[in-house]
Amino acid sequence: MTSTPRIGVFVCRCGINIGAYVDVPKVVEYAKTLANVVNAEENMYTCSSDGLNKIKEAIKKNDLNRVVVASCTPRTHEPLFQETCEEAGVNKYLFEMANIRDQCSWVHMREPEKATKKAKDLVRMAVAKAALLAPGDEPEIDVNPSSLVIGGGVSGMQAALSLADQGFNVTLVEKAPELGGMLRTLDTLFPSNIKASKVLEPLLQEIKANPRIRVITNSKVKTVNGFIGNFDIGVEGDGKQERFNVGTIIVAVGADLLKPDGLYLYGQDARVRTQAQFEELVKMSKMDAKRIVMIQCVGARNEDRPYCSRICCNEALKNVLNAASPGREIFILYRDLQTYGVHYSRLEQDAKRKGVKFLKYQPDKPPQVTAEEDGLRIEFYSPTFNEKVELNADLLVLSTPLVPVMDAKELSQLLKVSLNSNGFFMEAHIKLRPIDFATDGIYICGTAHSPKDIGESVTQALAAASRAAIPMARRKVRAAAIISEVDQKKCSGCGTCIEVCPYNAIRKNDKGLAEVVAAVCKGCGICGATCPEKAITMHHFTDEEIEAQGLAALKET
């Protein structure tokens, strides 16, 4: 760090997201008074191309060598702003962000004055750190151009095929004895009602015929070590174990269907079935019920599972259309019918034309089911008629949601990736970095991510394959320069850092002193915090930078 810091501060309004709760002009004026700040301005949206251009212009005009953006969160927007800095000739490690939206305006909406004070404090902290930042060089890492796809359902198979078509070797690991996943349990597929086998069989044959795809069934991934470009995988199953190395990983483990145990007499009365069992009955032509009632959102959109499973309405309509016949009465009890888009709303129209009755119920007054000798009695309050409705049925069909697979948590810990509050796998950002996990080199697709139909799953699978192909096609990735460094003059060779490093990124050199392998270091900083001699610098999170942030936070204003 040779040059005197010349810091530019950009305070974002994020439309009303920040601007309505934090007094942005005041924060800008305040930023101008801080040491080393030569330029401060506000933007409506700093992340818009207009906002980014203003950063670049300000860098050139004011000869800035450090940039601070006060806006949303570095977890989503830091890479974008860093890229902008690089484009204007400022090293990306000379950028710092103040989180005045996710951790300020959005959580202090009723206290605008205090939120403004906090935003000023956060800017002051960021400026204090920025003044001490040093540029970083990013080490290059080799990428093994092969991939692991976990889960052999329609998503996993499509992703594997796409990668293989692009010339990459793929290992496809499936826990069941055969590939196919949920597709194997379905008879037909909505909205076109084609046979599921028409989709499944060609996929299976293509995979079998593709020399680049190796399939391991009856097996689970047990160990994952390493990082993008170089993951060591341990797979176990069928009494066998094997280890191999891949550059990227795609998670396509799918989802399970909720079993509605204990709900609406399911499991107690044979006349209560799930939608999947109903489909099986229709397929085998064993369905002779004259009056059928379906209940939607069973075990869904409640406190335990607040999300909409998206496919159950269309699944019910598909089965209803296949089961409808003269002399058969069908009622669908629903909360909100999610027949989104033209194809699906056409299913709804068709069902109505065939005489299927749609009746709305309220979640706070759910249907009551009692078993009688001559049939099932379903009573519920109809908000449409504003009165209690009674229906008799020979068969009650329950639509249940997709739920995360049993071992989702286990796998998420293994891969060091996140699950969302519903227990599904969570991408880095829904709009800015979909498909990617926050952990580099790992990607998500299919119902492991959220409930979705086969078309959407296939689209996402192809997207995941494309994302995974990028580092594999380049054969190299740049690792972050957030790495530690040992001061050889201070190191005593005690080896404590080597013992505490979770990635074996530190070794002893020929002088017996510690040395960091840059490409392997992941930047946790545990070595720096531990070194008894304080000989290790954790770049971008140095003792001095952290201290400066803390002292700035406590400075009276």
Binding site: T73, P74, R75, N99, R101, D102, Q103, C104, W106, V107, H108, M109, R110, E111, K114, A115, K117, K118, D121, L122, M125, Q413, K416, S418, L419, N420, S421, M426, A438, T439, I482, C494, T496, C497, E499, V500, P502, Y503, K522, G523, C524, G525, I526, G528, A529, T530, C531, P532, E533, K534, M538, F541, D543, I546, E547, Q549, G550, L551, A553, L554
Partner: protein, 257 residues
Amino acid sequence: MSDFDPNIIGFLCNWCSYAGADLAGVSRIQYPTNLRVIKVMCSGRVEPGMILNLLETGADGVLITGCHIGDCHYITGNLHTKRKYSLLQKLISKTGLEPQRVRLEWNSAAEGQRFANLVTEFTEQIRAIGPTPLKTHDTNSNLLLNIRAAKEASDNFRLRALVGKEEKMVTVGNVYGEKISQEEFTAIMDEAVETEFQIHRIYLMLREGPKSVKQISQTLGMSSKLVHNYVVALRQRGWIDVKEAVEGTPLYATLLR
């Protein structure tokens, strides 16, 4: 009490707790405005000395949050945090400052509500304890000296080495293959914390000017015999020496280190 708006610093790990804090924002869950966040890649990056430094400067409270045990992005990072936090609490409890001013919690990326609850509850706790006494500069108390001594002790080789070696010593053993139990380690640690804390208190006092064993003993409320032992240890380390003798009483002063 009601106009006391505490200054609270939070160390949040990048992967779990910082993401959890963001999720609280995305979910618009409201919580008090007192927390000022310092992002670190891993909670294991946080050193006791950093926190003692903030307490000395006037922080009313410090919150450290990491991934849940077993969920750490860096596999074992939070286990190191736990060990360092244990040392920190041992040191703070010797200074006379309320140990409840510092807290370690685990918060996942999915726990936005939990993060908001945590900040709310911790802020209330600090409000209840009251403003830090380190801001009011009470010259009658040794609190400032104690906090500084705790910081110096935590930054020093012996305690840092012990914390760093804890895992190996209780699981694999030291370089001679001698393994000790967790209880034995804790006993060694407790003794080391006491010694280092007292040694650094005396050393810091002497940095202000030469003093006799009796003067030190009176200021610290410690028996002359104990002070004498620590002074001998300090001389052996080469940190202090006799500067002069006034009427037969030696005065000790610090040496350049």
